[in-house]
Symmetry: D3
Subunit: 136 residues, 6 copies
């Protein structure tokens, strides 16, 4: 399996509900350094896993609506705790949609698996990883 990974970041505010979160129930924030890793069993005709320029643009486009936002105000997250692992899942879904919509180029339909990791500090990170659904 071949992989290519691109990195970007996003800075957000949010709060959590539930005793398990302790002081993080208060409004606070985070820098998430985001790695999007694309995997496929064989390279395309150009010798690529993915057009890395388009991959970076797609990741940026997915992060843009979150950037410099209080996630507590975004309707799509109502009722959810926007934990690092939860956000990894959200960004995974949106990148998977971008691939399906062709925004990473025609060769990107060979991408078989996607992993999104968010580093929240030098001490902790979270990730979501899964196969991409086969396209009809």
């Amino acid at each position: 399996m071949f992989s290519v990974c691109v990195r970007d970041h996003v800075m957000i505010a949010h709060s959590f509900r539930g005793e398990v979160f302790g002081p993080a129930q208060r409004l606070h924030g985070a820098t998430y350094v985001v790695d999007a890793e694309f995997r496929r069993p064989a390279l395309d005709a150009d010798g690529l896993v993915v057009d890395i320029g388009l991959a970076g643009q797609a990741l940026r486009a997915v992060l843009e609506p979150l950037a410099y936002r209080n996630l507590d105000d975004l309707p799509e997250f109502a009722g959810a705790n926007t934990t690092t692992e939860y956000l990894a899942g959200v960004i995974w879904q949106r990148l998977a949609e971008a691939i399906r919509a062709g925004r990473l180029g025609p060769a990107a339909d060979g991408i078989a698996r996607l992993r999104v990791a968010l580093q929240e500090s030098h001490l902790a990170w979270a990730a979501y990883e899964a196969d991409l659904p086969r396209q009809a």
Copy 2:
């Protein structure tokens, strides 16, 4: 699959037996930067892989008996070479026991897989990773 990873470290002395180890047969030491990664297929009701506070405490509790020790003196390692990969396995076992004993909270029984990685320098690391046994 979702992941959450926490980082800590430990500083130990030890020596190795066997010609393959060359000068590392002498008493020397290491800083191990330890990453413990917890994986599960779905998030718990709070949107978490694991209570990250408890996870960090459990990792600390596992590292504590090794910290500032000469591993050659610890009876549990008698006859073993405490290589980086061997120690990754030991820490894995002890964290798995902590999960089973409920020390990462009740929601932690959803954790399906565990990976422990030890960075010994900027040039080398070792890891052990396996599914957790299903609990009856």
Copy 3:
């Protein structure tokens, strides 16, 4: 000149006032990975720049009142933009006070210079550095 540096981190929310900040005028947040570096011309009787345990506790004590807070709500920052460089200066002042108050131990009065750096992402950091005032 000898140096010792300890690292910790803090996660906060805030917003900025001024067109120069663009979208960062909105409420957002950051993880700051904070390095506190202590410098002195000669080591103390134990061979130390500073008691690293006390240094870490002092840094933690300085970060605690900021942790998981919306800095816009803290009266001490009223009217200020809590930029990364501004916060480096604030943390520097509070660590300097901790040294003066003896909270890093009696040997710490040999510390001549202090530097505080805050990494806000993998792409940017800020710092404040200055000599400590001589104590009468």
Copy 4:
């Protein structure tokens, strides 16, 4: 599964063919920081995944013919785009051959899987990973 990983690097020139590469069609270059990760289900009699000294030497021997070269001049790459992911595959093949040829020692025939990752900047990396063919 146990892992051991060693790190080295190589500095090369090359160019790419194909519009997808934009300005990277021009002759340029890269530093690749190369991680070679060896995996096996159980440790050998010395408590090792691999003799880390031999592993480092084997990685160095594989990188040596590429070091300080213009890859466009090497006959083995004629007609290929030597992208980061393509080179990860090449280095994987050559390390797999070194294992098969016994250059990582007799115990290395227990290595079941190999992963080679090339970091090309602080923002992007590529990798190739696969099981090693079983030896007759």
Copy 5:
């Protein structure tokens, strides 16, 4: 003294003349991860060392003419060895010109000192640092 630092990178080809360079006399290349650090004794009215958006754009504009180039072909480097330390000096000069030309905004004339560091691998870096000339 306050500092703000921004990071970018550039991938180039080049060769060196002189026996001291050994195999690096051949055409090869490098990724340089470039840190530009701006220093000033006091913050501006917005609480800033520099408009970080403009600083990043200015660094990008300085790196652009080098990106994906064979430095041996650029007339400005004729007769010079474009070593990492030499390039740190070149980028320093061009950033200093950008500040002088007002491309980092009017408040940037308070910047007193500039440091440019180029990381060429996980094992080596070079830098150039100096006061900025006072502006009449």
Copy 6:
């Protein structure tokens, strides 16, 4: 001022004397990732701060007598606490002697300042830095 920095590492055992060290009074160990930074006001005729190959060899030669050793057994450290900052000073002295002895080449007499930093974990480092004595 120009700088060039090279990185290497060393793994040692030792113990400390004095209550301030707490559990580190026991025999333990550390990996030190060592950065040696050479500074000079102008580049040499080859466009270099230092012959980086010789610099790396000199650093290796300085670390070799410490590698895989229990520092408590080395007569040169009798009566001293081999703290990270103390060792930074020791390595500085030995590198300064190597420069003076010509082991970094004839052009190295232009080196004006030297800094040695030892990272002991992802959370702490120490350094020693000073001008080199002028040579008669």
